[in-house]
Amino acid sequence: MHPIIKLVSQRLALGFLLLFGASALIFGLTEALPGDAAQAVLGQAATPEALANLREEMGLNRPALTRYFEWLGGIVQGDLGQSLTNKLDIAESIGSRLGNTLFLAFWAAVVSVPLAIFLGLLAVRYRNRWPDKLISAVTLTTISIPEFLIGYVLVYFVAVKLGLFSPLAMINDSMSFWQKLNSIALPVIVLTLVVLAHMMRMTRAAILNVMQSAYVETAELKGLSNFQVIYRHAFPNAVAPIVNVVMLNLAYLVVGVVVVEVVFVYPGMGQYLVDHVTKRDVPVVLACGVIFAAIYIGLNMIADIVAILANPRLRHPK
């Protein structure tokens, strides 16, 4: 078998194993929380009888393991189950919200990834001169400020004072594509500012590392311009570490947007998850958790595979 197929299939198998482990962990943690869905629905003043009845009805009095494997059996068949508190089908409720979250993450990625790599290349080209220092200073500043603060500051100055974009990122199906884009402009900017520094710094470090090598000296002695040396000879060998950090940040864009969604009242996965954690609605939390885990594992696996493919020794064995 070609070594790449073998490596990729190993990674895939490992990914599924990890996903299984993540689901068990999430289930265990929600079990460990004090209180349950029945308690949350009925509130502090509930009588023990009412609680017992509701638990019976919700199926909460059965052993944890049984409930876990029932749920797992459903997942394998593509059934995410029903919400305990509002009896709605989870897959249906998540569907549109996941779409919204991915829409936001996608546009944030489209803006931030090329920008980060370009700034990283620029920083290498003007290493230790003012453009490098300016880029580092600005990106490190934006990563250091909490994203909700950046969010509110942008809402106040850009949306309220300048009236440029909508302060609320509400979107629905009746909006046109451009209206949607206009609506998510501010959260996209906030997310970009948050993830930029990490990717930019990694690009810069990975390329600088490669710049020390003898083949870069060879390229310089061919009379190539600095930019040609960087993008033709240094960049292809720095792809693996850069892709790794890009994927980590993409995963953050999907999974870590909770705060930003709340600030801009964006109808995505983050708000949905936060709501149902307070209600102890385990099936919903589990479903969201597993989807987030799958996205995280999937993106990191892609990073791994790209890193493997970027290695010519594996692509072209002797």
Partner: protein, 545 residues
């Protein structure tokens, strides 16, 4: 004389150094060097490490490696001073008029790109040829340089060809843009001798065919004598002697040049074998974990007390593996080792402290074989404590004795490895192994990383110490000159087998087997025309077969 292609006048080069614990400061590493190179001629720059020869070579492309900067003088290429010309003009110079061949082609080729893309890049970028013309030219050069399958080898990636082939590809890369001058920086140093001779001949013919001028940088005078018209001998950034090749080799004026020419002339009379060998290796077969083939096949050798057995072979011949088996780092699959009359356990764990003490080892890289945070006294004192339980004044006295034996003396006791030169570091390693009072020392390429004159000093020291301490050496090397200088018996290894074994006089006298013949005839000799003689001789032989 025609107008010089390269004219260097009073070239001064400096660098900023960052010594630990001191403020960074500027030093000068080349102190005013001048020379001329006419079109189509070859100038050899020769010297030991730190002589500034590579730095001068790169200065002809207005390039400073790392923090190196050209601080003064003039470098004229094709009638203009390139130290004063524009940035754009320097880019036209590099890769267009002057090209560079580095010591390690393996590191100098971009691993992520095909060989062809890299070979034609400069020619296309400098608009000397179209991509198609350049590729045609590259294929011609591949053929001229004797590369296999010249039409398709460019489609491979660097890791898919051998080291010797890659070095030839690098030469093609340098010649492809039709430069006026090529800087060859130790192009054959990293190669095995039998490969070196082919690459050397390929380079020499390519230079003759294309009429390009060359700066040929090396530490090996015998090599440079084969390819250059003139030679400049450099030492610590100064010109020692500058003249034509014939004069430098046959009639050197300066003492330093004379020493370089007469290097490798240690005479050592062979000792007769004794009835009781200190080490006998019987039928050793070994392989590494995870490999499904043997790296050593049925190796049988003996070493007699107070004598030297040289194990010689090229990279991959199994000579270092043999050392690992003897030291117990790699348990053999078959065979046994007898050491000073007792059978040694194949595994390191099964060996006694006495076994460990009597069998010491010295390594190629002296600087990584010592703890940089310990003083020389601590390093040499450690085996004294460990094996003999020596303390205080007694230990100190013995350390000083050992330091005297390695010709360094008491004042070195409190120095750290970083304060020593390469040769001094190796001497400290020798003292450390002698401190254990061993019966035998395995010397693994101990002189390979050293400059020729320093290496000579180490070999002389080892021979002197052998007389005093009556210690036996198992001397692993790829260098036949070293073998001649130090051994009493020789084992020639090839692909994991001992192909020739016996007393020195017998191994080095005809009739030879094919491999030993090839190996012996590949060692560069210090006389003009040696390369042509060998190549002509080989052509005749292969025609005869």
């Amino acid at each position: 004389m025609t107008e010089a292609l390269l004219k260097v006048r009073d070239l001064k080069i400096g660098a900023t150094v960052y010594p630990p614990g001191e403020k960074p400061h500027d030093i000068e590493i080349v102190h005013g060097v001048s020379f001329d190179l006419a079109p189509g001629k070859v100038l050899g720059l020769i010297g030991e490490s730190g002589a500034g020869k590579s730095t001068i070579g790169l200065a002809s492309m207005a390039y400073g490696r790392g923090g190196v900067e050209i601080t003064g003088g003039e470098v004229w290429v094709n009638g203009r001073d390139i130290l004063k010309t524009s940035h754009g003009d320097i880019r036209k110079l590099r890769g267009g008029e002057v090209t560079y061949v580095s010591q390690s082609a393996a590191a100098s080729f971009n691993p992520a790109k095909k060989i062809m893309d890299q070979v034609v890049e400069a020619a296309v970028e400098q608009k000397k040829f179209s991509r198609k013309e350049a590729e045609g030219r590259a294929r011609e050069l591949f053929a001229k340089l004797g590369l296999p399958d010249p039409d398709n080898i460019g489609e491979r990636y660097p890791h898919q060809v051998s080291g010797g082939q890659l070095q030839r590809c690098m030469t093609a890369l340098a010649l492809c843009p039709e430069p006026d001058l090529v800087v060859f920086d130790e192009p054959t140093t990293a190669l095995d001798v039998t490969t070196q001779i082919d690459v050397l001949m390929a380079i020499k013919e390519a230079i003759a065919d294309t009429g390009v001028a060359a700066l040929y940088i090396t530490h090996d005078l015998a090599v440079v004598a084969q390819v250059s018209d003139d030679i400049m001998v450099l030492r610590m950034g100064n010109t020692v002697e500058y003249g034509n090749t014939d004069q430098i080799i046959n009639n050197p004026q300066e003492e330093y040049t004379q020493a370089l020419v007469s290097v490798r002339s240690i005479e050592h009379e062979e000792k007769k074998p004794t009835p009781d060998p200190v080490l006998s290796v019987d039928g050793i077969t070994a392989r590494y974990k995870g490999l499904n083939f043997d790296v050593l096949h049925n190796v049988n050798v003996e070493l007699h007390p107070g004598q030297t057995l040289a194990v010689v072979g090229e990279s991959g011949s199994g000579k270092s593996t043999l050392a690992r088996v003897i030291t117990g780092l790699l348990p053999p699959r078959d065979g046994e080792i007898t050491f000073s009359g007792r059978k040694l356990s194949g595994d390191l764990k099964g060996r006694t402290r006495e076994d460990l003490r009597e069998l010491q080892m010295i390594y190629q890289m002296a600087d990584v074989a010592m703890n940089p945070r310990q003083t020389v006294g601590t390093i040499i004192g450690r085996p004294l404590e460990f094996y003999f339980n020596m303390r205080g004044a007694e230990k100190r006295k013995r350390i000083i004795e050992l330091l005297d034996e390695i010709e360094l003396g008491e004042k070195f006791m409190d120095r750290y490895p970083a304060e020593l030169s390469g040769g001094q570091k190796q001497r400290v390693c020798i003292a450390r192994s002698l401190a254990a009072k061993p019966k035998m020392i395995i010397c693994d390429e101990v002189t390979s990383a050293l400059d020729p004159l320093v290496a000579d000093g180490i070999l002389k020291l080892l021979l002197d110490l052998q007389k005093i301490e009556d210690v036996a050496y198992l001397f692993i090397t790829h260098d036949l000159a070293t073998v001649r200088a130090i051994s009493d018996s020789i084992a020639v290894m090839y692909q994991g087998r001992v192909v020739r074994y016996g007393p020195k006089s017998q191994v080095l006298s005809p009739p030879f087997d094919d491999y030993t013949d090839l190996l012996l005839s590949s060692v560069p000799e210090m006389h003009l025309g040696w390369l042509e003689e060998v190549v002509a001789h080989r052509k005749m032989e292969s025609a005869g077969n």
